[in-house]
Symmetry: C2
Subunit: 486 residues, 2 copies
Amino acid sequence: MNSNNGINSSNNSFWQNLFAPNSVALIGASNTPGTWGFNIMWRLLASERRIYPVNPNVSEVMGKPAYRRLTDIPDSIDLAVIVVRASLVSAVLQECIQKGVNAAVVISSGFSETGEDGRKLEAEMMETARRGGIRIIGPNTMGHADTSSNVSTLAWTKEIPPGPVALIAQSGNLGNRIVLQGIDLGIGFSKFVCSGNEADLHFEDYLEYLGQDEDTRIITAYIEGLREGRRFFQLAREITVKKPIIAIKAGGTKEAARAARSHTGALSGSEAVYNAAFRQAGVIRVGGDDELNDVALALLHQPLPRGNRIGILAIGGGLGVVATEACEREGLVIAPLASVTIEKLNALLPPRWPHANPVDLVGIGPTVDNSIILSSLWALMEDENIDAVLLQAPVAIGTNYLSNTFHFNAEEIKVFDDGQKQNLDMLRKRAAEYGKPVLVVTPVNDPETNAYLLREKIPVFTSPHRAARVLHHLTWYRGYLDANQS
Amino acid sequence: MNSNNGINSSNNSFWQNLFAPNSVALIGASNTPGTWGFNIMWRLLASERRIYPVNPNVSEVMGKPAYRRLTDIPDSIDLAVIVVRASLVSAVLQECIQKGVNAAVVISSGFSETGEDGRKLEAEMMETARRGGIRIIGPNTMGHADTSSNVSTLAWTKEIPPGPVALIAQSGNLGNRIVLQGIDLGIGFSKFVCSGNEADLHFEDYLEYLGQDEDTRIITAYIEGLREGRRFFQLAREITVKKPIIAIKAGGTKEAARAARSHTGALSGSEAVYNAAFRQAGVIRVGGDDELNDVALALLHQPLPRGNRIGILAIGGGLGVVATEACEREGLVIAPLASVTIEKLNALLPPRWPHANPVDLVGIGPTVDNSIILSSLWALMEDENIDAVLLQAPVAIGTNYLSNTFHFNAEEIKVFDDGQKQNLDMLRKRAAEYGKPVLVVTPVNDPETNAYLLREKIPVFTSPHRAARVLHHLTWYRGYLDANQS
């Protein structure tokens, strides 16, 4: 390393510099709370790497000496994060060239999303970048993160837990909401990129990169418009046979398409074309962020069903009726029970059980005795007519609920809780063994019980409609794989 | 009161005895945790009234002396709650006749829902009840509650906060889940009835009663099948011009209809007939419990919109795109902005704002400066082209979020929080004044912020799809009222 001119001696690929930089300069770093330059500095300092604030107007930022210019930094820089105003960005990139920086995140907005003047600034910026071989996330991006290398330029997102789900978002706010919802469901993320205006790196570049990324097992996306439709299609076809892609495609209605054009300049394209392309490429298309996270949750923790024949187990007739309707509306089949299953359930349930699917655990009420529920569940999972189970019965109960509703004391709670942990282990084991997913819909709405199940890696949904929608997607994706995997 | 024979001297109507009894006997009360007789006893004892356990096998239940038979109780009894097994219920009703009891809740199951033998038991029970003039909730019910008189026979529901929403449920478990979800949204309930097999009192009886109930401002319902369709239609037409009815009608698909028959014996009837009847009677038909509570939440806290022209204000282009699409798919109109509104927004927002609806608060990012958001919101509310606003911007921020993401200290949080409370007061005031509802969709998914808004009586939704669905229902209902209110 040459500390005099600070020319970057690393031969890292720009991908590595974007997602695992050893040193980062923040151009526009600030001591003013509430600014991008403040929040991103604060975020960058949360990691162990070398961080250099650049700001000609202050002597230090958050205790780190500030440099007037990027080229003043006496160290090599892997990644430049730029938050200065749009008209200054090209000059900063010029310094990046002098400094040998090949990777930048341009947070600054005021480019092509704003009209003619902005388009000119963006073209000028890209000319500089191309000349210097600098690859860019953005401009007009809310940042990016990698939980493996612990880098984050996300000013407004809380700390993201690591995990196998990646997200590419053509809207920072939408991406942010998806990630925060996912965190609430116990979903961990590998990488998160807000692609911004995609002046340089396109959605398709990130998709290709994540397709090869070993930390990423599931790719999720928020899409307004694709710049390289054909390339997207080919990449998606290659990737989806190895890892699922779950995507929201927005801008499918008239005014929404107009709004998307003014947002990122993206042409959102014909609904029919997108639908056909996604279907043929094995992309799971979801309607919104809730649904995206629901599908990711199921894919993370449960196997794909072999078919669309659903067994429903419910602790009450009404729950069974509603779940049945939700499944039928999603094109799923309410499986007729095998006679051996009926015999098994005859031995478990009172004579008045309906002897058919949905299986109503008649009259046992919300109960602390899980054994009948579990034995009935195993009977359904063993039924060769059934590909997946939608379970609306308390396979686990949060400890406050046990105390408040069942009036258990601490010792009783301990014994019961040990038992239910074992039951959930067995549920996960059998689901994997039989290749039959079990999706839980909470019969009561107890947030503590839901959180408990999520901690134990059991997908849980607050309504049968959400679970049925997920089963629809899992079934469709399995059918795609069966037809397309070699 | 004659304490020798204990004949009931009260002339209370059976409705008053069901929902506001002075004295209750629990036949089948138990000291065994996890049983209905235990949980209901515990629930009944939470109120101040006179409670008498009946159980021939024990001397006391939860510290109260137990009676061998109902007729042994040396007090008048307004309400009999019966949890003994089905074959014993008629004999208990016989004692009710001797004792002059005219109101009973029959929790016991094993009646018509179980087949031929059960049907005979139910007929026998009803013969006794009719002979004695006893009116019955159930059998096969999970109970009922009135938060004004503080009576509850709900074994498995946590304490329900009082409020103006009533629920009639043809499934105890579904009703339970609806109430628990509602509680999480800050919704309070007046009355909750699980109607069970409706051997005596029908759904229509409860509907008529709640239509006249002064504690009830909104009626919600879970319906599998109506026994008196014509009466329902006439009642609903009369009620909905005064108070909204929000209903789930389940069993609309083939297998779900079959499951409903085996659940409560209800014929779920033709989808087309129900749809037409609901529409003509002004009943808001929702698809599930989430949607039911979403609509109730909006009706509780916001006025009805005069039309379907929506203004969208979003702190980011992507949020605006998705909200626009959600609204269009619900048949709502994305209102063109009046020129005066565009002028007002020109004075507030950077020049690059899109000058159209959806209004993107370009580039201000998640922010602590609410003033631009609020001024923009007032501009949209004042626009005569706009009937309702869907707001995806932080009008309020939870205090933990302020501390963790904005790095505020305690004093800063206090000042900020006082300000945002005033802003929310103004929002509610202006919504009422203009007659324009404002529905908030959280731009970030922060449960603390959502809870904060709900405490401040601002309807908040976790996705624009849910908010758009609610706006669809509000708009439709307002149109119904305009056409049908005299």
